[in-house]
Amino acid sequence: MDTDAPAKAHRVRRAGRKAEKRQKNSEDADTKQRNPKAFAIQSTNKLNRAFRRAQDVKARKHHIPVVDRTPQEPPPIVVAIVGPPKVGKTTLLNGILKNYTRQKVSEIKGPVTLVSGKHRRLTLIECNNDLTSMIDIAKVADLILLMIDASFGFEMETFEFLNICQVHGFPKVMGILTHLDSFKQQKTLKKTKKALKHRFWTELYQGAKLFYLSGMVFGEYQRTEVRNLCRFISVMKFRPLTWRSTHSYVFADRMEDITDPETLRVEPTCNRNISIYGYVRGTHLKPSTAVHIPGAGDYRLHNVSFLHDPCPLPDRGDKKQRRSLDVRERVMYAPMSGVGGIVYDKDAVYIDVDGSNNTAESQQQNVPETILKSSIIDSSKTIDSKMEESKVSLFTGDEPLSTEQAESMINMKMPEEEVVHQEDGRVRRRAVFHDNDGDGREDSGIDDSDDEDSDESDDEFYPQDEAQDADNQDEEMDMETETIEQEDEDSDEDVVEGSGLNWKIDLREKAEKAFIERQSSSVNLQRLVYGAVQEEEEESGEEGEEELRGGLFKVTSNEDETDKKRKRNNRECSRDLSKMIRDWIDDHEARESITDCFVTGNWGEGEDAKTLLDQDDEIYGDFEDLETGDVVKGNDSKTTNQNEDEKEDEIFDAHESKKDRESRMREKRMERKRKLKEAFDRNYDVDKIGGASGGGESTLFDNVKRELNEQARLNREEFENMDETTRVQYEGFRPGMYVRLELRGIPAEMVQQFEPHYPLIVGGVSSTEENMGFLRTRVKRHRWYKRILKTRDPLIVSIGWRRYQTLPMYYMEDHNLRQRMLKYTPEHMHCWALFYGPITPQGTGFLAVQSISGATPDFRISATGTVLESDCSTQLVKKLKLVGYPYKIYRNTCFIKGMFNSPLEVAKFEGASIRSVSGIRGHVKKAITNGGKEQGPSGAFRAMFEDKLLMSDVVFCRTWYPVQVPKMYIVVSNLMINKKDSWQAMKTVGQLRFEQNLKVPVNEDSLYKPIVRPEGRQFSSLVIPRALQKELPFKSKPKYLRGKNQTKHDKLMKKAVVREPKDRQIAALMNALRTMDKNKKQTKKLERKKQMAEHKKLLEKQVVKDQWRHKEAKKKIYKALAKSEKKKSKVSEE
């Protein structure tokens, strides 16, 4: 970027801490030598990995090399100060201005340009909190100072702005934390700082620079802190951004209304002519390119001129190397704020006395001044341009020239031709009404050329370096094209043998020589190609004279037809048929003239084989053959050369003084040394030239870099010493030039509502980008945006320079690349979008917002994406199902009605595949026509299915219906209104419904209704034939599960099993064992039964016994009882 002065050589410390450290390190190196085993290769694998890693690390550091296209004097770097309101933007801007210029500006409006260093200028601008401003700033700023209020934390605007930056190429961003003095406790301050820093890093990249402005002193930031910030700014390096390096743009620092005051008085709202001033940035600005002014629209540059730089870099011619800038060199230029005092215009210098005159209010007051300016601008052109014009008109052919030469030439030439044409003309005039008569013209054509040849011989007498002559010659050469073509058609031999036409060939040769000679001087060449073009004027004059006769037919007067006119309709051929071919067989002079074009001819001094050999000798000189020990002397070319030199010197001695001779000798020596050095470099120092890493062979990367450096050098040097006007003609206005752009037909509102706080950008667009087309883009709804986006809802898109409202259609790509329309964007996925707009280069990022007006606490950026492709048509489709009903069913043939309306429609769908609801596939065969056997309604057709349909079936045909992307394109013209942040865009349907309190219309057909089945329908069970069952895969085979009342044996299939002998043995054994086991179990069971029975019997016996015993016991008791009672009664009786 900056052309660095050769850096001061490093002085190595000889004493002190560093010297000691180095001493210690060198000792460490010794240990490696002392103990080589410890550092020997232990494992090749490890080494391999280490080497690979080292290479990876090295390769990762590489960026793709680009040609450095920055000019010698680059345009000022745009530094934008961005942040939410009340964060301290203006304070910082003031601080920076004060730091650089030691001036204080009362009110800053618009950009301020200042010189920040010996090689760098800055354009500072404060960005207000408006979405459009933020977008514009992100498009032009090189460095962004993103201010964050630490006491509050991040605000939505900050994140929005970062997202805007991301899609527009991401300029350098430096965060600045302010309001740090509001923290009372050191610990909370530290914590907040850390938290904010890490959040900032996740948003940008790890380690992104975040600056802290600790607090205010007397309403300003601390001087040391601002100075440190400025140092960061002045050493910042920038990588070119793709969009900006391919488009030229002007970030306007001044705008003037230059409309004619009279028209303004008559109609105050007439379209205005304005001039815009600023530095060209990006790439070369070509005059009369189309430009887009974000917020205003597309215009074409009417005029571009470069002006004196109002804020020049310090003069580098100064020999003294000073470290800091002089006070006089600290220039500040801010015309919109009224700073800078002097305003340069195309042809005048204005000294501003009373500050700014750009605001809308002051516009009315300053009318007289504007009149003065505009009148000057309108009336006069620069002297340069006048001079140029006068030259041009002098050499214009169709004007009656004052010079005698020209007059005589025309006089001599015209009459002869006119005679020819008059004859010719009459014939032709008739030809318009009747048949054409070609032969006559053909003949006369040849005559014509003869005449012309004689003319040319006359021309030879005139001075040949005049453009007029050159141009005529050019045309005559083209006439020759015709002639020769005719000759060619007649006979080819004529040209070579030329027995009869020898004189003619000679003439032509002369003419050709003259033509080529004209190309031998650069000035003539330029004029020959780009010189005065006079045809158009002439033509317009002729057209006026044409008269209408008989209404329909036009009478063309052939008398006026000139050579040029005929040349216009010549046969087009890229091969130069007019070229005269010399006789190379016999013409020795001609043969001589190209002898050195062949390898067999003489070579140039430097590349002659002999010289090259000599050179080698000089380089390799004497050497000793180590094997034989011979010393080979280089053949004494040096000495011979010296001898020759001496000889030459002797010759010259007589003529020149000693001093001259010495200087000549020195030059010669220097030349020889240079050549030697070059040869040496070629052989050994390849890497050094390209500035590649030292040592090792040059890599691809180094080669590419070297080539690009070479190209950059060529770019710089090619037009360096040219004067500016010619240079502009070749290059266009190169970046860094201060230019004045003139635009016509700008709406009056743009001037009336001009607001310097809003950035005014004039972005150049290439001619292809003017055309409209459909942009295919990849898009993702922003994850912080609250809603999903609906297809065909208007969206404001910021893409390239442009900002416009359009109707995107979202879609997904099917596996076969079919573009299938989506109604809404997917929630967390990318999708594609198609919209109508100007063609944009692929890879350009864009962002979309729903509305730029109104305040919302939510995140405003609704989607971001990139352009994939531009085209003039789209392939967007949506699914459409056609429904039909069978009305007659044969076995597999079926007649279907209701799908189409006419046989023509059916014809379009012949062969289309259709499907019934039950999944039976088929295809459309042929429409039913009246003449056929089968009858049906119009649009009915015969179809074939793979199985028999039922009358109750419904048949579908799945088709893809192309969807049109609406061609809507509305430029967001928010610069044209008073409140620039409230531009009302086209509303979405939902928004309108909400505002007007309307319900969403409901389509009755789309509602779900209960399914009503006809009564009494019996669905018989599906029967699959056994043969088919066999064929089916297991999955589809009917599975018979065992019913409740089926035994296992019913269900299982009985298989005859033939066993192997061993298996049989095993089986027999197993069987025997099983039988034995069974038997055992059986006997056991029986035994048990028996035991049980016995036991039962035993128990029964026991029970009987017990009962008896009980009986006996009872008997005894009762007996005893009865006895005692008797006794008692006896006693009582007694």
Binding site: K286, N436, Q519, Q526, C597
Partner: protein, 376 residues
């Protein structure tokens, strides 16, 4: 758009191709008036209409308005799409006339162009397909148009009957390389091809012998292929011709060619004469010199102007009228002005016999990029 696209206006049928090529590339519409307005056969001719239809197929969204009389043409270019296409070229002009247009446009299409053109492959007026294959294709490669650039001559067809067929394949590029080509070097060898269709197989040999006769005096390293075609491959009309190219030590290719006239012209040329004429034309071309042959100058100029925004330099021989007109058109459409410097003998080349004076063309490219290409 809010501004009406400025329509460039021209008159006359000449240089139609230049205007259409540049219009298509730059996207600027062009209006051509008074096309043979005072001719017996006014308006666009069949071959020009054929060219327009070819362009229509090569592009998407192109609008072509031709007035009732055919004397006015309004061409609004769309986007170049390319792809595979077959085209029957009109027999009034040879395939070269159409192929020159395709060559200029093909690198900037949406898809790689692979087209099959049928018609006249070799005639006496337009550059033949051999010429384009031998001279223009290597030139395109210098500008960075990929490696699979291919031109295959399937069948040859002489005028007036035609019946030839070629296959042309061109990859798409994103950007062209900036070319710095100012050292023409010295001619090291001469190669070429002599061909004949529907005539005696002796013809090519006779052509070669006579051409060698002239050229042997200058350089011994000459090798000329003969290509005699029979049957279906030989088209519908008899004809023969020879194409010669001189290659230099710095890979400059200068070429010349000569073809027999159609039979109907009643002018029989004997092959010896034709061979000599071709050799003389080649020597003339060497005399003109430069790094680009005289018939390819326009292509080099176009690709220089379309290159990246760097300074490109190419040494030309004396400019042909066609090139001069092309340079003017480039200024109109692309706003690129070339710096033209006459190079007379100087420095190391002092006192050498290297033909006529040369022209050094220098320009800053417009940074043209392939806008129709798709990225994924």
């Amino acid at each position: 758009l809010e501004i009406a696209m400025s329509v460039l206006e021209y008159e006359g049928s000449n240089f139609l191709r230049q205007r259409l090529i540049l219009s298509t590339l730059s996207g600027k519409p062009v209006k051509i008036k008074k096309i043979r307005s005072s001719d017996e056969n006014p308006g666009l001719h069949e071959f020009e209409a054929n060219l327009l239809s070819l362009l229509d197929r090569l592009t998407n969204g192109t609008k072509i308005d031709i007035s009732v009389t055919g004397t006015t043409l309004l061409y609004r270019p769309g986007i170049l799409i390319g792809g595979t296409l077959d085209h029957d070229c009109n027999l009034e002009r040879s395939i070269g006339y159409y192929l020159e247009v395709i060559i200029c446009l093909a690198p900037f299409c949406k898809q790689a162009v692979s087209c099959t053109l049928t018609g006249i492959t070799n005639d006496h007026a337009d550059p033949t397909v051999d010429f384009l294959k031998g001279t223009n294709l290597p030139l395109m490669k210098l500008f960075g148009v990929g490696d699979d650039l291919e031109l295959k001559i399937n069948k040859r067809g002489a005028s007036p009957g035609g019946g030839g067929e070629i296959y042309f394949h061109c990859p798409r590029v994103n950007k062209l390389r900036t070319l710095n080509f100012t050292e023409p070097g010295k001619v090291k060898n001469i190669r070429g091809v002599a061909y004949a269709t529907r005539v005696s197989p002796q013809m090519p040999n006779r052509l070669v012998t006579s051409a060698r006769g002239v050229l042997n005096g200058f350089i011994p390293d000459i090798y000329i292929n003969t290509d005699h075609l029979k049957g279906a491959q030989s088209g519908k009309s008899p004809g023969f011709g020879i194409y010669l190219e001189a290659r230099s030590t710095k890979d400059v290719i200068l070429s010349a060619e000569c073809n027999s006239l159609p039979k109907s012209e009643n002018a029989s040329v004997d092959p010896e004469e034709l061979g000599k004429r071709a050799a003389c034309a080649l020597l003339e071309e060497i005399h003109s010199g430069g790094c680009v042959g005289s018939s390819s100058q326009y292509l080099a100029a176009l690709f220089m102007a379309l290159g990246e925004q760097d300074v490109g330099k190419v040494l030309f021989g004396p400019l042909t009228p066609y090139t001069i007109e092309f340079l003017r058109h480039i200024r109109d459409f692309l706003q690129v002005t070339f710096k033209l410097e006459a190079k007379t003998y100087s420095g190391d080349q002092m006192g050498q016999n290297i033909g006529s004076s040369k022209v050094l063309l220098t320009c800053v490219g417009v940074g043209f990029s392939n806008m129709s290409k798709t990225i994924r």
